[in-house]
Amino acid sequence: TGGGGDDGLTIGALQPLSGNFAPWGSVHQAGLEFAVDEVNDEGFLDQELTVESTDTESDAGGAATAFRRFVEEEDAVAITGPVSSDVGVRTAQLAEELEVPLMLHMAGTHRLHTKQSRHTFRLGSLPAPMDLQPQAELIEERDYQTVGAIVADYEWGRTVEDQIDEWFPDGIDLSVDVAPRGESNFRSYLRDMPEDLDLIVATGHPPGSISIHTQARELGLGHDLTTGAGLPPGVLYEALGGAAETFAHLHTPDVYGDAFADVAGRFAEDRGEQFTTHHGYGYIAGRVFAEAIDEADSTDPSDIASVVLESSHDTILAEPLQYNEWGEIDGVRSMLSTVHEGGPDFHSDGAFHLEQEYQSSLMNASMVEPLVPEER
């Protein structure tokens, strides 16, 4: 490692390489590096693109310091990687202060953007309304009558709780429980759920969603599906085994489309590993930044941010990636998929593949209220 800047362009990656979110960090990092390698091979940028990454340990303060270091000491022109809303909020703050584009990996809170934001771009984790709408649609489509939800007692979980009220169809038998964020034993909550449960919504308790699913099965609740947070599919496969087939997680990369298969095929060939949705987020970040630098014809971070904000990029998502005026993701489709044994078509050596349970309708940024900062 060492300073970039003089003879190359640096993308800073604030990765959770250790700690609770480490499974996200390493996968995202691999996808990002792959994208940068491809960009350099294609040679459409004047300068070599490099990735500088650091371990945030999932800590907001640490990420903030690293952000400044990247920008001021390593001359990074763009930043990506943050996982978790707390880190997302703090780094978004800095992106605006230092005027450097930031592409978030997984930060779902809707209090991320203000109407003045111009440098913060959401990618992997959608804001709560966009998280709940696909599930609401699924309930209607499958005509689920009895739905239970467990949300975590912190910002995200409570937002999900509100959004459930807002989006879920009236007239279903719905029970919502709130559990501590660190809880991993949900038996008492689950025992209290109604009989004949069709669906358990666990997206409001990301750290506990796997436990909720296994414990519900152990208790023999006999529900159809559990919907859970956007965990890397490899983690789901490892942790759940066969139970992963009834655990539907949310993602936006269109793993069933040709573009994804293309990239994944190249990745498998080059790296010998299976390319998943979360590799995808890293890949998209690398690609979009490179294209924006090219398009802006400038290495000024602010110019790069303007391009990301204003243009639209064809990526491995179902729809082109585009943002509204303040950087909220716009016109996106998300999918609910389960994980099954056996590699996908594009990588038959893989251990698992995804199967789609549901694909949402097109969702626009207008459904998310931005944060209105107070007057002082």
Binding site: D55, D59, T65, E374
Partner: protein, 343 residues
């Protein structure tokens, strides 16, 4: 033994010469290490000063009276949340309500000290008591979502001094550094005054043998309570400054791991019961932590190992070691701790 008044004044002022020198050195630092428009080093410097103030508070209560406060983070949080929320509610500048936050934190510290001194709690009981309070208060910060916006937190600023930013043209972070330095300087002088007065003498006696201290007329409960109040108020005062430096308030900034662990390390590494220990310790640890980032995901492991080594083999602290080395050379000891010489 009467002294000439001017000589006496000299003598009094002479007790502060190391503080004056130290503050001047600290005042030059940003000019040397912070490039124009840079915020990275400036932020590290403000963090170091903020934590130096926290550590100074812990030094008073733990170093001098053996009350191990493991809720430094919570006290800082109380100061910060009180100041921010009150300023917001009343619609005034945070400067105006800053003392309220400090006093509230001070009152909590005072209460804890009073109760624990009355109940004759040992250091370990106080440690567990305050750790429990730390965790409970953290739950409150995170849980009272309507008031505090939960774990996400909110933007906070307003503790700037326009003279520094506008008239002198310092950047936001550098200006904040000087605000912190001014606070630190006042606290160092106060600390020196207190420790060379009868407070220092009482603390020293109490720490060694409470029963004996009481038997020679020292009101143990009173002095412990005073120490608890002073420390907590100092920490509660630094809390909002910390939040201002970060531009943000959220519970995890005040957690046991983020604040207490680090402050404790700083105190031990710098040197307990010394004037400069907290400052040196804070500087050393902030620097070290920043250097450790090259270790990537092994940073935390390295930090843990380093801590154990420091605690086991270096627990007398940097300042006492350096002082002893200088004393050994027979050279002057301008940075030495005056309390050790006078009482």
């Amino acid at each position: 033994m009467s002294r000439h008044p001017i000589a006496a004044l000299r003598h009094r002022l002479g007790r502060f010469d190391d503080i004056a020198l130290g503050v001047v050195v600290l005042a030059i630092v940003p000019q040397l290490v912070v490039g124009t428009g840079m915020t990275y080093q400036a932020r590290l410097l403000t963090i170091a000063l903020t934590f130096a103030i926290f550590t100074l508070g812990l030094n008073v209560v733990f170093g001098h009276t053996d009350q191990l406060f493991l809720f430094v983070g919570a006290l800082a949080g109380v100061g910060a949340y009180t100041t921010a929320l009150l300023a917001d509610a009343v619609g005034v500048s945070p400067w105006l309500v800053l003392p309220v936050g400090a006093l509230l934190a001070g009152a909590i510290g005072m209460l804890v000290s009073y109760v624990s001194a009355r109940r004759g709690m040992t250091v370990i009981v106080i440690a567990i008591l305050t750790l429990s309070l730390q965790l409970a208060i953290m739950e409150l910060f995170g849980g009272a979502r309507d008031l505090t916006r939960g774990s996400t937190g909110f933007l906070f600023s307003g503790l700037e001094v326009t003279f520094l930013t506008e008239t002198l043209g310092f950047s936001r972070y550098v200006a904040h550094y000087y605000v912190l330095l001014a606070v630190l300087a006042v606290l160092l002088v106060g600390y020196r005054l207190a420790m060379t007065s009868k407070y220092g003498l009482a603390f020293k006696a109490i720490r060694q043998d409470e029963v004996a201290a009481e038997s020679v007329g020292i009101d143990v409960v009173k002095y412990k309570t005073i120490a608890g109040f002073a420390a907590a108020a100092i920490i509660g005062l630094a809390g909002p400054l910390y939040a201002h430096g970060e531009g943000w308030i959220e519970p995890s900034m005040f957690s046991f791991n983020t604040v207490d662990v680090i402050v404790l390390i700083m105190l031990v590494v710098g040197g307990m019961r010394t004037t400069w220990g907290p400052v040196v310790g804070a500087g050393a640890i902030v620097y070290l932590e920043e250097q450790l980032h090259v270790l990537g995901q092994w940073r935390m492991t390295a930090l843990g190992l380093l801590l154990m080594v420091l605690f086991l083999y270096f627990r007398s602290g940097i300042v006492p070691k350096v002082t002893a080395a200088l004393d050994g050379d027979g050279r002057s000891v301008s940075l030495t701790d005056v309390t050790d010489r006078f009482g």
